[in-house]
């Protein structure tokens, strides 16, 4: 069972990580809203990354399209641009963003779970999302991320618990950007 406080804490550390690592880095506006119907998620691909502890595994899915606006956003300030995307630099870039965000979430969780580990990200296609409930999650939530009121991405949090999960994060504490962007 995942307590209400723990669910709220997972949502908080997710929003905090996204805001810090996706938006604050470039001083962009970022809105994060919960959506009820996952059919709204139409992006062709998503990156998935798992944080594991003895009590749970926590999957974070970031849905994205390889389209002009997305590439342009993630190319900002980096070596990636539309013309040089043949070698999947864009994909590496977006996976690195996911890595940073999940790393921030993992650090939050380390305050409550001494032992936890984080996987490397992997990319799957949209149809896989329809089977997320087959993982028997104790908590699942879909989010719409709107950046600068133009670029829309989606994210899914899926937590499979193996016992009681109950913790509370300090919601007044702000995240810190921990490092420069690095290519995988």
């Amino acid at each position: 069972m995942i307590s209400e406080e723990a669910q709220s804490s997972f949502a908080h550390i997710f929003k905090s990580a996204v805001t810090t690592n996706f938006c604050d880095y470039y001083n962009d506006m970022c809105e994060i809203d919960v959506i009820d119907d996952h059919k709204e998620i139409t992006e062709a691909e998503f990156s998935v990354l798992t944080i594991t502890s003895t009590s749970f595994r926590f999957l974070t899915l970031l849905h994205f399209d390889t389209n002009e606006s997305t590439i342009k956003y993630f190319a900002n300030g980096s070596i990636v641009d539309e013309e040089h995307n043949e070698n999947n630099e864009f994909l590496d870039q977006i996976l690195e963003f996911c890595n940073l965000a999940c790393g921030a979430m993992n650090r939050h969780l380390n305050d409550h779970y001494t032992y936890s580990g984080m996987s490397t990200p992997y990319v799957l296609t949209r149809p896989c999302l329809d089977f997320i409930t087959d993982l028997n999650p104790g908590y699942i939530k879909h989010y719409r991320i709107t950046i600068n009121q133009s670029l829309v991405l989606h994210a899914t949090l899926c937590i499979c618990n193996f016992g009681n999960v109950d913790f509370s994060v300090d919601k007044s504490k702000a995240d810190e950007i921990t490092g420069e962007l690095q290519m995988l």
Binding site: R57, G117, S119, L124, P127
Partner: protein, 309 residues
Amino acid sequence: MNIFTRKRHRNVEQKLAAESVLVNELEAELQVNIDSLNNDAIHPELLSQELAEPLEVENNNDFLQQNNIKLEQLEQENAELIKQIKKLSEAHQQEITSIKIEAETKQNFHEQELSEKEEQLTYLENQLAQVREEKEQALIDNYQTQKQHNAEFEALKQSILNKRGEFKDKVNNLSNEIAEITKFSDIFERWHEDMNSLMIQNKAMHDQNDRFSSIVRTIVILSVNAAIEAARAGENGRGFAVVAQEIRHLANVSEDLSRDYSRNLYKNDLITTSTFQDIQAGGKMITSALIGIHVTSKNLKNSIISPVK
């Protein structure tokens, strides 16, 4: 006899000496009076001479009478002086006796006091001797205990050194084992690489299924065309129409199968990915914990190596 008694005796002796001097002076004065009296007395020879000479009897009688009166006065004075001397002597004797009694009383008191003090002193000296003896015994005991403790400490130190050696070996072994176990992370990474192989395999199956699905759709179209051609052939094409219908039915079933297969492949993608990521993250978690234990064991090893103070 203590100093106070001696001082008191000295005072009394001085006083007695002064009294003796006074008595001597009085006796000397008495002797002078007697001598004077003797000088003034009429010597018998002189008296005979005087009697032989022709003197006037009346003058001699007066002179004798005067001498007798003078002699009586002197005798009275002598008696008075002797009486005074006797009185003074008695008074002095009484005073000397009183002083002697007082001195003896005080001497007795002081001697008793001195005796008590000496007893107390003896008692205290005995006690001091006893305390000294006890102290010496305690020092001896303490020395022996300390000696025993030193021996025990040395034995314990040796035992600790031996145990430390054993413990150091064990920590070394543990540290080596942990270092070996830390290499298990390579296995988790290998499993994760296996996931990539599996996902590549899944992708190939996706492609194959897509091709199969495409073939099925073609068969459906062909079966429809066959049914149309069979209808054109009329009675002769009736059998062919049945075959075409059956092929279309099989194609529809195949299409459903292909769709299910595709869905299962996607489901398989998700489950495989989440499972292998769980393994990879779990491996990192275990490795991280092992590294922590490894560092702790190294610190422990270093603390054991440092010399015993």
